[in-house]
């Protein structure tokens, strides 16, 4: 118990320390850098929550039984979407600073003038609000319903969730594409890529999966997920393994087409990211996000090995951070920035995220005890 208290004191301390750094960096580090950090952490929180919610919806969609015992974990992580909403609303203040499409001079720009309505501050905000509303709807139906089922044990929830899951897939596709196009691609509105939404989706799902796997392993260590076995871990590991390949497939597809066509308005994106120190980050992204996890999880036993899985999940979360950083920060037009403002943002938001997830993990049951398929899920064998 005292250890528990110590951890939460430490986390609160990190948040407080980070908050001071964040406030100072607003004054001292320059507005552009401040808001780039803010948007970075908003996108990270949002994609982690959304990726986890996607995992939940996917399990309902395909009527998966194996995942019922661990389903509560991504449900809890998906609630990260709730604190992400105020963070996102504050991030709307970044629009006039970071997003060229929302500045008044965009009306004179030969390319941006045509997109003026889409990129303008009011429509951007409305879209964001709609996306948040849709996410809350998904949370209410999928997570709220599941929590309610704990007490009622009403099997009607499973049927309802299964009916809602296909609709949520459409919602998810829309929301993740908006995140990619508005918040990431919007930083450089003269550049565009159709596949960026899929790329961000792959990263978000991997992030959600890694967070889920890590939490499952953590709770297992505390003896709280009794009945979850290596067979369940194997499926999580298999998902992680498969989606590292998917992520790199999409990432490379985008790179190769732009490299081949060599059109100035497209290659500028990679020109920036392959010059100077950004080149090292691009290469390490390929290594950390694809090559290392791929070979770490390629054998059958490694997907069941808790130690290996924990390492890969941590690596994946780090790589997801690096991925979003790599998407957002080059737009500032400088080399890779990482010093005290970035560290304070990391302390503040990481501490906050961990506190939120810790809180969520301590509330209610660790498994969906009202789900009629729980027993079948516990009996799952490969």
């Amino acid at each position: 118990m005292s250890q528990n208290k110590n951890t939460s004191t430490m986390l609160w301390g990190a948040v407080a320390l980070g908050a001071i750094g964040v406030l100072v960096s607003y004054r001292a580090a320059g507005l552009e850098r401040f808001w780039a950090n803010w948007v970075l952490w908003f996108v990270l929180m949002f994609t982690l929550g959304l990726g986890s919610l996607f995992l939940v919806a996917l399990e309902h969609l395909v009527n998966a039984k194996w995942s019922v015992p661990v389903r509560r974990i991504p449900e809890r992580i998906a609630t990260l979407l709730l604190p992400a909403i105020p963070v996102g609303l504050i991030a709307l203040c970044a629009l006039p600073v970071l997003y060229p499409g929302s500045r008044p001079e965009a009306a004179q720009h030969p390319i941006l003038a045509g997109k003026a309505f889409w990129l303008s501050l009011p429509f951007f905000s409305v879209r964001t609000l709609i996306a948040f509303g849709l996410c809350v709807l998904g949370l209410a139906v999928l997570v709220g319903g599941s929590l309610k089922q704990d007490t009622t044990g009403d099997p009607a929830f499973n049927a309802r969730a299964r009916k809602f899951a296909p609709a949520f897939m459409a919602i998810f596709a829309l929301v993740i594409t908006l995140v990619a196009f508005d918040w990431i691609s919007g930083l450089t509105p003269e550049w565009y890529s159709d596949i960026l939404g899929v790329y961000v989706f792959a990263g978000a799902f991997l992030g959600g999966l890694a967070a889920t796997t890590l939490s499952v392993l953590y709770l297992q260590d505390q003896g709280r997920l009794e009945g979850v076995r290596s067979d369940h871990l194997y499926n999580l590991g298999g998902f992680l393994f498969a989606f590292t390949v998917f992520w790199s497939y999409i990432g490379f597809a985008q790179y190769m087409l732009m490299w081949y066509a060599n059109l100035p308005d497209e290659v500028i994106y990679y020109k920036l990211r392959l010059a100077g120190s950004w080149r090292a980050i691009t290469v390490s992204l390929a290594v950390l996000h694809f090559i290392l996890p791929f070979f770490a999880l390629v054998t059958r036993d490694s997907k069941k090995d808790p130690k290996r899985l924990r390492m890969v999940a941590c690596l994946m979360l780090g790589a997801h951070f690096l991925d979003i950083y790599w998407l957002i920060f080059p737009a500032l037009g400088t080399g890779p920035l990482f010093s005290w403002p970035e560290l304070s943002f990391a302390l503040f938001f990481l501490g906050g995220i961990l506190l939120w997830i810790r809180g969520a993990m301590q509330k209610g049951e660790d498994m969906p005890v009202g789900d009629p398929f729980l027993r079948e899920g516990l009996e799952f064998r490969l």
């Binding site: 490379f252 790179y255 190769m256 490299w259 081949y260 060599n262 390629v298 054998t299 059958r300 064998r381 490969l382």
Partner: protein, 380 residues
């Protein structure tokens, strides 16, 4: 009976009974224990003590080999053997290799998985497994769970095996005879297979022939012929001048054919032959001279080539004093620009070839006008 029997099947009514029987039967150590069930049963692999299949490792190795093979082929052809710069990409652009590396990786891996499983691990070709002709097979494919004790060697005791299976709860026992192990690839089988393939080829070939003959409006793949395209040497409405083949832009020079000697022949007199007088250079010059010059100028450059006799032209006699006094640059200029009836060879010969043939012409001239000191043996 014991020397011909192949295995003994014990039939169980529930999967639980089967799972319970496995450790008991394995403990009897009478032969290899094998199970036949209508559907996969969880945990049966561990119970039977089956080894991990080596297929995964084989697939990984072959997949990596596929990636390396594809990379090697592509790098060799596009960077070493025949480097052509297209679209401004360097010769060894790895980005362009990735899709093919991906495909070949998948190809090698799937072939290894499929063929390795069938031929290496399942030991095909194989006409039939004895269990398939047993009486129990109808039960195995429906609702019976069968444990088999299979013979490992000649000393297999089927009576003891049947007893062990009954002791472990089998409701019924069936003894299978040894399978027919006669050679698989008999000459008869090979002949029939080859004959079948031949007959199929003849039938489909004839069918194709008559189908296209009797139904001429339905030739296969006709659309490939009718596509709009530019034919060399043919008119075309696509370009304004009506030609399918277009002239290169004025001043175009083939890669490696620079610099072209311009200006007058006198101005070119000061050009210096950049090539050394080595065996390799003379070999190039000799080859070019034989291919391009000899028909008119003759094998020794005396202007008596085979075309001279046929058409009565008057090519230059390169052995004449006038041409022996020419500086290298003036010969070079003639090769590039042509002179009188001689056409320009600028488009045919690279820079190296032109200068090499100049060296060779010099050698021909000296050979026909040798001095005494040329007879001295030069130390090799």
């Amino acid at each position: 009976m014991s020397e011909t029997s192949y295995s003994v099947l014990g039939i169980y009514e529930t999967p639980d009974a089967l799972m319970k029987a496995i450790p008991e039967v394995r403990a009897s150590k009478l032969g290899t224990v094998e199970a036949y069930t209508p559907y996969p049963i969880h945990g049966i692999e561990e119970a039977l003590g089956l080894r991990r299949s080596p297929l995964g490792g084989m697939v990984l190795v072959m997949g990596v080999l596929g990636a390396i093979t594809a990379f090697g082929f592509e790098y060799w052809i596009s960077a070493v053997d025949y480097p052509i710069i297209t679209g401004g990409k360097g010769a060894g652009s790895w980005e362009a290799f990735i899709p093919i590396m991906f495909e070949v990786t998948v190809l090698f891996a799937t072939f290894t998985a499929g063929l390795g499983m069938l031929f290496l691990l399942n030991k095909l070709p194989f006409f039939g497994h004895p269990v398939l002709s047993s009486k129990s097979i109808t039960g195995i494919t429906r609702d019976r769970y069968v444990l088999a004790l299979e013979a490992e060697d000649e000393s297999f005791d089927s009576v003891a095996a049947a007893k062990a299976l009954r002791a472990a709860g089998a409701v019924e026992v069936e003894v299978l005879p040894a399978p027919d192990r006669s050679p698989f690839l008999t000459s008869d089988f090979i002949l029939r297979t080859l004959g079948g393939i031949f007959a199929a080829c003849v039938v489909s070939g004839l069918a194709m022939f008559f189908a296209t003959k009797w139904f001429p409006l339905l030739p296969p793949m006709r659309y490939m012929e009718d596509q709009p395209r530019l034919n060399a040497q043919k008119p075309s409405a696509f370009f304004k001048d009506g030609h399918g083949m277009q002239r290169p832009v004025a001043g175009t020079v083939t890669r490696g054919h620079l610099p072209t000697a311009t200006g007058t022949q006198e101005a070119a007199a000061s050009l210096v032959n950049p090539l050394p007088r080595t065996k390799e250079v003379f070999a190039i010059g000799r080859k070019v001279f034989a291919n391009r010059c000899e028909v008119c100028h003759g094998a020794i450059g005396n202007g008596m080539g085979s075309l001279t006799a046929a058409y009565g032209g008057k090519p230059a006699n390169l052995q004449a004093q006038q041409f022996r006094d020419y500086p290298d640059g003036k010969i070079y200029w003639v090769i590039v620009n042509g002179k009188n009836a001689m056409p320009s060879h600028a488009a045919d010969l690279t820079e190296t070839q032109r200068w090499a043939v100049v060296h060779y012409v010099r050698a021909l001239q000296r050979a026909q006008n040798a001095k005494d000191e040329d007879l001295k043996v030069v130390a090799p």
